[in-house]
Amino acid sequence: MAYIAVQSEDFDLSAEFARIQGDDTDIGALVTFTGTVRDMTGTLESMTLEHYPGMTEKLLEQIATEAETRWPLLGCTIIHRYGTLSPGDNIVLVITASSHRQAAFDAAEYLMDFLKSKAPFWKKETTEAGGNWVDAKETDETALKRWDT
């Protein structure tokens, strides 16, 4: 039921809403998370995302299936870009649809926590000074632990 895509192209929020809603009138709540290329210091030239083709798709499918098991979802979208992006560009989109708002919120947070800690993507920032792989954040591993049951 989930729609998963790993792509270099940008995504369109309205088109993805249309895809997940379809003719479904049971949906009352849709939550989205959009991650964008952040440039806190104004020095970022570009951000390059490397990934592990094959494993990425497989892992995103697993995460989506797990979310659908845990919450009464009526739809679930995960789109993650790779390649070289500019400040402000979209990186990732997660959409969850449900009859219930809390289920939609919880599932979206869950998907992002797993994606951040488990999906095989790596970010490299390029500034005038050169390229630099982004360090993983310990808080992402911590965030994941709250879903242990």
Binding site: G35, E50, H51, Y52, I91, L115, K118, W122, A136
Partner: protein
């Protein structure tokens, strides 16, 4: 033949993205393989020096360092992920 894959900083340090090797019979686990690879050159040695900073996937599933490896496996080494 085992298929080895390297990503991100590991790929840059080793200098290649993937390679196939015939695992010696002495290699039973990821840990054995890491010790073997570190003998192949400075790039390998520095990339895999501290395995607390390296993640391993076998056949596209995250595994621990004590996981078994065979010649039929796709084995990937990479830093902690930073997508999203």
């Amino acid at each position: 033949m085992a298929q080895l894959m390297y990503f991100s900083k590991v790929r840059e340090q080793i200098g290649i993205g993937d390679e196939t090797i015939d695992l010696p019979h002495t290699i039973a686990t990821v840990e054995d393989l890491v010790a073997h690879l570190r003998g192949l050159g400075d790039g390998y040695n520095s990339a895999l020096a501290d395995m607390t900073f390296i993640r391993v996937a076998i056949n596209q599933n995250h595994v621990g360092i004590d996981h078994a490896v065979t010649n039929a496996d796709e084995i990937a080494f990479f830093p902690p992920v930073t997508g999203g």
